[in-house]
């Protein structure tokens, strides 16, 4: 009943009215012709009246949308006629938009989103560094924190956090090692965090007399405890102490460490010990602060610097001049984001470059097509379509294309986001919880519309002043030099940009290949490593060390076990846990001003060198007789022996540690020399093999790692090994079983991801650029069909046409690569001034990138070149 009348219906009604009106006038005696004119005059301006009738039913926006809808339908139809082109354009744009949307969501999550902490812009992270000895974060000792608390007024409260490992019993079925934060009573208040369950730690939990209390982190509670609310009030064993679970922390960025739980100081005997409380140089605590009301961070920085200067004056022994100890304060948000900033901005740049390439390629394809359509556009113009209407038609078409591209791109965004988030998680813990949200949609839509507008303005419209006759008459394609230059320019730019990306990717791949193929000192595939920690601190009395003795004996009896030994350090995986220690050797006097040499300190059980495959070069291995009560002994690496005992007399000489940590100097007789083995770097500089000194596990009482050499599949041994250890000590954690090959792969996975992400970008860029070159040449060939026909007709060999087209492709590639090299070099130079760690790729990646691009471009020109050579003379000449 209230069906909207369409235009035809309205016209019908007007026509009927007119007929009635004329008829009436004729019946009243008017002349038919005069009656018709009078009726028309009386009616008024038909289009205006029809318009006002329409307005009753259709609002203006609906009308505009309907017009666009019509255009879109037409656009869709005309695009479906050129399916190959449409698919290329859509896929190209999808890659560009998908990459950008993904990177944008990660950047937003990591750099722009505020933290959940209350008043997070007042929350600062205070860092002590010693650039003089290469330490960018020395952390703080308890006396230092007490000084700062007593003297600094611009910071209203301080919170401290240190990380320890506990063997935890309770909550989960198996005993396991957990990482735990140990905090003072003010920590959670300073951080401004809330519990999701129970309560957090407060001032009453502070100090050595409080009851043991622990808060679970949200991640641990959800992933390991299945969000079990009944955990509150349960008692857990943490190493030798116990603690009650009092609450669960809300989801928040875990900083400085991603721990399973956070406990008060009373749970950690180490935190109550004299070393921790009184030693100014025993620095293991991270410090946070809350700015006092109305204080700027700069004021706080200034006061911290002053107070720190006073501290260094009062305790010169704790702050050697060459260490150049310094304090800095940053907002926690910036501190968390800072390592990721550069990486994300670089990625954003790469994504933008890919988008640029994609757009220029699409522009190219559309330009080429529009030249072929000049006739069609001229016809439309001749039929009365104004410039606006023509642009709207073109806009609708490119909107259809870009819309398809964006839809595809947003579908691609999800896997891209996962990939990039994993990549960025290395630099910022915030990337761990990046999710794809609606912002991706908006970014995708925005980019698509932007691209559509851009593309609608690429084609030239028939000029209203130029005679339209030409375009109307000729059905052939005319290509102006201007258009051709524009096409070539776009293609060259694409090649240049792809070259830069490809060279970067090549550099990363070269690094990765070097790392993966580097020979290591170990027989990585047959060695299985376990973490079998004895206690939170790693120290153990002779009795608990018996566990290792019995375990190794029983494991050695298992079938397929070729050897088993105890150690302290899983190569690569434990890098960063045991640093260098200063030492001295008998008969070697250091030069004036030279520091004591430092060596890596490793604890080794009997047989470990054989298990790992590190050859013994002189003397003997440690034995079961090397125990605490026997003579102190050590084994040195070849590098130590060669440097300090150049005449090969290392065995039976003595060395001793000079670090204050070891107390009085105990001379240890060197009983053996083993080959150099780098267990920190996967690839070590061959010129300087690391100095390493080994001590027997049973003399020092530090162990914690078990190595098994397997004859067959190493992982098949894991259950048996675990069972044996559990039989000896049911509460003993046995964790992280992995072959050294897998440890290395895991260590290298960031590099692999790095290379993978950049190669992905470069691959996309090359693909798009190659499509671009092929498109330009194909178009150029089809536009020159007539010329080729003529040339063939007057006796030119098809071979010449073929090489001519190939030469055109090669020229585009060559110019593109050359300008890419020059531009990339300039860009890298520029970037070096603003960003740290910018490297120029070596010669190999550059040559490789050039070769890949050039061959791809020439390969892409083969198809159009072959078409040029196959031009049918008669048809070509008849074409016009």
């Amino acid at each position: 009943m209230t069906m909207r009348p369409d235009d035809r219906e309205l016209d019908d009604e007007i026509r009927a009215h007119m007929a009635l009106s004329i008829r009436e006038r004729i019946e009243n005696g008017e002349d038919p012709e005069a009656a018709r004119l009078a009726a028309l005059r009386e009616f008024g301006y038909v289009p205006a009246i029809r318009e006002s009738m329409r307005r009753v039913w259709y609002s203006r926006p609906i009308d505009a949308a309907a017009a666009l809808g019509r255009d879109l339908r037409i656009g869709l139809r005309s695009i479906l006629r050129a399916r190959g082109l449409a698919a290329t354009v859509a896929v190209t744009l999808a890659l560009g938009i998908g990459a950008n949307a993904a990177i944008f969501s990660v950047v937003r999550a990591v750099l722009l989103r505020p933290l959940v902490n209350r008043d997070e812009d007042r929350l600062i992270y205070i860092r002590q560094s010693a650039p003089g000895v290469g330490s960018d974060n020395t952390r703080f000792s308890v006396p230092e924190i007490n000084d700062l608390k007593a003297r600094v007024t611009t910071i209203s409260s301080f919170g401290d956090f240190s990380t320890v490992e506990f063997a935890m019993v309770g909550l989960v079925a198996e005993p396991r090692m957990v990482k735990a934060g140990v905090v003072g009573g003010s920590f959670f208040d300073v951080m401004g965090l809330r519990p999701v369950l129970g309560r957090l730690l407060n001032a009453q939990d502070d100090g050595p007399k409080a009851a043991g209390a622990a808060v679970l982190t949200y991640r641990f509670w959800t992933t390991s405890l299945n969000r079990d609310a009944s955990v509150i009030g349960k008692t857990i064993r943490l190493g030798p102490r116990t603690a009650t679970v009092v609450g669960v922390l809300e989801p928040s960025v875990p900083y400085p460490d991603d721990t399973e739980l956070i406990a008060n100081v009373v749970t950690s005997p180490h935190h109550l010990g004299a070393t921790m409380v009184t030693s100014r140089t025993h620095r293991m605590t991270e410090l946070f602060g809350r700015l006092a009301p109305g204080v700027s961070i700069d004021a706080a920085r200034a006061e911290l610097t002053t107070v720190h200067a006073a501290m260094t004056r009062e305790h010169p022994e704790a702050y050697p001049a060459r260490a150049n100890t310094q304090l800095s304060a940053t907002r926690l948000r910036d501190q968390i984001a800072s390592p990721a900033r550069t990486v994300l901005l670089v990625l954003l740049g790469a994504a933008a470059v890919v988008f640029l390439i994609a757009c220029s390629n699409v522009a190219n394809l559309i330009l080429a097509r529009s030249v072929q359509r000049e006739g069609e556009l001229a016809v439309r113009a001749a039929l009365g379509a104004g410039t606006g209407a023509l642009r709207r038609t073109l806009f609708a078409e490119s909107l259809v294309l870009c819309g398809a591209g964006a839809t595809l791109g947003i579908m691609l965004a999800r896997p891209f986001v996962a990939l990039v988030a994993r990549f960025a998680a290395r630099f910022s813990v915030r990337a761990l919880d990046v999710t794809v949200d609606s912002s991706v949609l908006w970014i995708g839509a925005g980019l698509a519309i932007g691209a559509a507008v851009l593309l609608a303005y690429v084609p030239r419209l028939p000029s209203p002043h130029a005679p339209a006759g030409l375009g109307l008459v000729s059905s052939g394609v005319r290509i102006t030099t201007g258009t051709r230059r524009r096409l070539r320019l776009f293609a060259t730019v694409q090649i240049a940009l792809s070259f830069v990306l490809l060279a970067c990717a090549g550099m990363l791949i070269a690094t990765l290949v070097a790392l993966r193929t580097a020979a290591t000192s170990y027989d990585v595939r047959h060695i299985l490593a376990f973490d079998v920690p004895l206690s939170a601190t790693g120290f153990a009395g002779p009795k608990t060390l018996d566990l290792y003795g019995e375990a190794t004996r029983r494991i050695a009896e298992l079938p397929d076990v070729e050897g088993v030994a105890v150690g302290s350090f899983v190569p690569w995986r434990d890098a960063g846990t045991l640093g260098g220690v200063t030492f001295a050797v008998e008969g070697y006097t250091r030069a004036d001003g030279e520091d004591d040499p430092t060596a890596r300190l490793r604890l080794t059980g009997p047989g470990l060198f054989a298990v790992l495959g590190v050859p013994l070069l002189a003397g003997r291995d440690f034995s079961d007789e090397d125990i605490q009560s026997s003579e102190p002994v050590s084994i040195v690496s070849e590098s130590v022996a060669r440097r300090f005992f150049p005449n090969g007399e290392a065995v039976n000489r003595h060395m001793w540690w000079t670090d204050a940590y070891f107390g009085k100097h105990v001379p240890r007789r060197i009983v053996g020399v083993v080959a150099d083995a780098d267990d920190v770097q996967v690839v070590s500089a061959p010129a300087a093999p690391p100095l390493t000194i080994y001590m027997p596990v049973r003399q020092v009482g530090i162990g914690g790692r078990l190595f098994v050499r397997a004859a067959g599949d190493p992982y098949a041994l894991v259950p048996a090994v675990r069972k044996i250890i559990r039989e000896i000590s049911p509460e003993q954690p046995v964790e992280r079983a992995a072959t050294l090959a897998d440890v290395r792969a895991q260590i290298l996975s960031p590099e692999r991801l790095n290379a993978f992400v950049f190669s992905g970008f470069a691959g996309m860029a090359v693909l798009i650029a190659v499509v671009g070159v092929a498109g330009v040449l194909a178009f150029s060939v089809s536009a020159r069909t007539r010329e080729f026909g003529v040339r063939l007709a007057i006796g030119s060999a098809p071979r010449h046409l073929l090489t001519g087209v190939l030469r055109e492709g090669a020229r585009i590639a060559a110019i593109g690569i050359a300008s890419g090299a020059v531009g990339g070099y300039a860009l890298a130079r520029l970037a070096m001034q603003f960003v740290e760690h910018v490297e120029l790729p070596g010669l190999m990646p550059v040559i490789g990138a050039a070769a890949v691009l050039a061959s791809a471009a020439i390969g892409a020109s083969l198809v159009p070149a072959a078409r040029a050579a196959r031009v049918d003379v008669l048809q070509a000449l008849r074409a016009e």
Binding site: I14, H17, V56
Partner: protein, 119 residues
């Protein structure tokens, strides 16, 4: 709504066209041209409704549900669109008539006050 009056015709008062249309259709369905003529003859040629006002008004009334439109054949055997009053439209007509009566009365009082109220 209407053009300036010419040859002595009156300009339609704002908002009265709808009422006139509804009133005209009280006696049965009629097409647009017929409605225009009816208003003209019933007002002794004093009111002339422009097609530019009449047709949008008709469509507006249809949209509001006071009229229905249907194609039919006129007395002179010509195709035309006929408008018919709906029950809802009849109620609207009653409302408009009483409003109009009040308006006339009120304006009448202002223009010709009852004796005694003038000084």
């Amino acid at each position: 709504m209407t053009k300036p009056p010419e040859d002595g015709r009156l300009e339609l008062l704002q908002g009265t066209l709808d009422m006139l249309i509804l009133r005209t259709l009280r006696w049965g369905p009629q097409h647009g041209h017929g409605i225009g003529q009816a208003i003209r003859t019933q007002s002794d040629d004093l009111l002339k409704v422009e097609t530019g006002s009449l047709y949008p008004a008709l469509h507006r009334l249809v949209k509001r549900g006071w009229l229905t439109a249907e194609w039919g054949v006129s007395q002179s055997n010509q195709r035309a669109k006929f408008y018919r009053l709906t029950p809802e439209g009849k109620k609207q007509l009653v409302r408009e008539e009483s409003r109009w009566a009040q308006l006339v009365k009120a304006i009448g009082r202002v223009m010709k006050p009852a004796p005694g109220s003038e000084e």
